[in-house]
Amino acid sequence: MMRVTVGSASRGALAGLQADASRLANLQKQITSGRQITKPSDSPTGTVTALQLRSQLKQLHQYQANATDALGWLTTVDSSLHSITSQLQQVRSLVLQGMNTGTGNATSNEALAQQVDQARASLLSLANSSYLGRPVFGGTTAGDVAFDAAGSYVGDTGTVARTVGPNNAIDLNTPGTAAFGANGSNLFDLLKDISANLRTNPSGLGANLQQLDSRQVAITNEQSLAGAKYQRIQSVQNTANTNRVQLKSQLSDLQEIDLADMAIQVTSANAAYQAALATTAKVSQISLLDFLR
């Protein structure tokens, strides 16, 4: 049998009380911080996983910002091309009028030619539409415009990529040359040609009409391409939203405390501590001396 001595009894009581108190303090720390992992050693694997999840979440957040930016860019492209298409319809009817009138009425053709010139100026401005200060048809040009005043392309064919997901960089660029044609034979050259033909050579308008139609097809193509990219980005965004919710709930499972569970643990730790205090106080008061006269 082990002897119980003054020292061993008090030491044992103290060690027990301290263990209980430190368990209570630990729980308290977790509850006040709201986190299960208050320092890396609380759960080494949990910490590393949490770091990874946090980094993924941040990245996802950035992907979403990129996607929003990309949608803004594509909206600008789409609305510009849409306006351009409707303007081209008007130009087409002007050309048809010119063909019908033929050489007969120079005054009326001059009026048509002036309308075409007006339309050219307005189309040039549409082709220079910009998003956040960058011409959307100018590729990666550092300049303010994609087409200069003479109507020749001054942009480049660089890619304008937005990363909207892991390994998912989407090139938003709609190079001006693809939509409006190469320098020398682009839309603005064509319009200039039409205006000249209206004034001087209405017989050339037939060929102009065909060129105008093929240009129109190219523009519609680019518009539908931009629309397809828009849809693709939207679907990526939806997936990203779902992903984000999943990541957040994983992170919360890992990092945050379960309040109900904590409440039960605190109650039981508290009860144990109180019981230890009460018995220590009672037991250490008794000795043989109490019973000797």
């Binding site: 082990m2 002897r3 119980v4 001595t5 003054v6 020292g7 061993s8 030491r11 044992g12 060690a15 992992i37 320092k39 890396p40 050693s41 759960s43 080494p44 694997t45 910490t47 590393v48 949490a50 770091l51 990874q52 946090r54 980094s55 941040k58 990245q59 957040h61 950035q62 910002a65 990129n66 930016d69 956040l132 200060g133 960058r134 590729g139 990666t140 040009t141 550092a142 480049d156 660089g158 890619t159 304008v160 990529a161 937005r162 990363t163 892991p166 960089a169 990092q255 000795s287 043989l288 001396l289 000797l292």
Partner: protein
């Protein structure tokens, strides 16, 4: 035949002996809370007839006296040895756990403001530049994030350095404490040797000796031998620290090796070894890992930058200068000088910035290096703390065993008090009785019929 007066002498001896027993009990009670005190017991022995006396003169009966044959320290030497071993191990484990826990506080993860989150922010700031390479504000954000990353790494490194210095100071303080204890033990050894030779009670000295031995065990995990004359020999890692009345000194070499009297000692234990191991292995290890994070950051970022072109179309230069956590700094001050474009000529291409924004996902980049640092540290701390708490439990149980044999129990002492008190009362009754007999003999003999 015994002398008529021998009864008086015997009773007196009994009174003295019981009173001595009471005194020892009183001493035990008085020292119940004295650290290092070992309870003592008065050893009583019956006094028999003198031997070697011719039968003619010998008494036929034992003369019934009692004597104190000694005062024993009631410790258990085997448990004391075990306690010292466990204390040495405990000192080592507790110190290691404390140092590692201090390192852990320097890396507050996972959190919203730790280095991992700063890295994430840095990479994301590049994505903003990729989206809008011409925006100087976005480029400025990159520079700010880079600067805060560099500052954080510098601070972590400085904090680790400060911690290392404070551990080194603790180690020096521990050697001083060891040397003081060793010198005191050597002096005590001399006193014990003299006291043993002259037959004086050495119990109090032995208590002091055991306290010093325990202190040395805590500090160094020293090996101890207690010799027959009560003196103790102490060695650390195979080198003698205290032998008889000579004590050598413990010191640390510049490379933080434990030297005993100038000679390198083998692996010891205790606090000192814990501090030394932290200084030579753990702390430099974490510093190297932190440097690896800084180097990975500088290398990946600078490699990306030098492959690109800045806003004006010139080839990009390194963003970070320095390749250790302490020396890392931002080398670029002009936001336009950040390389975002993959093609020369001053365009708004963002491909290089895009590449930079994805460096965080690399398995060989700074993020992975940092995660590995935090993971290693967390595992190390967890293991050290677990080992320390296990060793603490073992040490506590051995201490309890030692206390169980050496500690004072009030119930027991009170019982002894009663026993000696009763024996004293009975002995004095014997004295009274003998006195009455003698009174009868002396005063009333020959007065028959008077």
């Amino acid at each position: 035949m015994t002398s008529a007066f021998s009864g008086l002498t015997n009773a007196l001896a009994a009174l003295n002996v019981q009173r001595y027993g009471l005194e020892v009990t009183g001493q035990n009670i008085a020292n119940a809370n004295t650290p290092g005190y070992t309870r003592q017991r008065a050893e009583l022995a019956a006094v028999g007839p003198a031997t070697g006396v011719a039968a003619l003169y010998a008494t036929q009966h034992p003369n019934g006296s009692v004597t104190v044959s000694g005062t024993t320290r009631l410790n258990d030497p085997m448990i004391d040895v075990r306690a010292r071993t466990e204390h040495g191990d405990n000192g080592y484990r507790q110190t290691t756990a404390t140092v590692l826990s201090s390192v852990e506080t320097l890396f507050d993860e996972p959190s919203d403001h730790g280095l991992a989150e700063q890295l994430n922010d840095f990479w994301n700031s590049w994505a903003a530049v990729a989206n809008n390479p011409g925006d100087l504000a976005a480029r400025n954000v990159v520079l700010q994030k880079a600067a805060s990353l560099a500052t954080s790494l510098n601070q972590s490194s400085a904090n680790l350095d400060r911690l290392t210095q404070s551990v080194a100071q603790q180690a020096t303080a521990a050697t001083l404490e060891i040397n003081t204890a060793a010198a005191a033990l050597a002096q005590l050894n001399g006193e014990i040797a003299v006291a043993t030779a002259s037959g004086t009670n050495t119990n109090a000295l032995a208590d002091q000796r055991d306290s010093l031995l325990m202190q040395l065990a805590d500090l160094t995990g020293a090996q101890t031998t207690v010799l027959a004359n009560g003196t103790a020999t102490v060695s650390i890692g195979g080198q003698n620290l205290v032998a008889s009345t000579t004590a050598t000194t413990v010191s640390l070499s510049p490379a933080n090796q434990i030297l005993v009297g100038g000679t390198p000692a083998g692996p010891a234990g205790g606090e000192l070894q814990g501090l030394v191991d932290s200084l030579t292995t753990a702390l430099p290890g974490y510093a190297a890992q932190l440097d690896a994070v800084a180097a990975a950051l500088a290398n990946t970022v600078n490699a990306g930058q030098t492959g690109g072109y800045d806003l004006a179309g010139n080839p990009g230069g390194p963003l970070f200068a320095g390749s250790t956590a302490a020396t890392l700094s931002v080398a670029v001050t002009n936001p336009a000088a950040l390389a975002a474009s993959g093609a020369a000529g001053g365009n708004l291409d963002g491909s290089v910035a895009l590449g930079m924004s994805q460096l965080g996902g690399s398995n060989s980049g700074a993020d992975a290096a940092y995660r590995s640092l935090v993971g290693t540290l967390a595992t190390d701390v967890q293991r050290a703390v677990q080992q320390a708490s296990i060793q603490q439990a073992v040490t506590n149980s051995v201490d309890e065993l030692a206390q169980s044999s050496a500690g004072v129990s009030f119930d027991e002492e009170t019982t002894n008090l009663l026993t000696y008190q009763r024996a004293y009362q009975a002995s004095s009754r014997v004295l009274t009785t003998v006195d009455e007999i003698l009174d009868t003999l002396i005063s009333h003999t020959g007065r028959v019929g008077l």
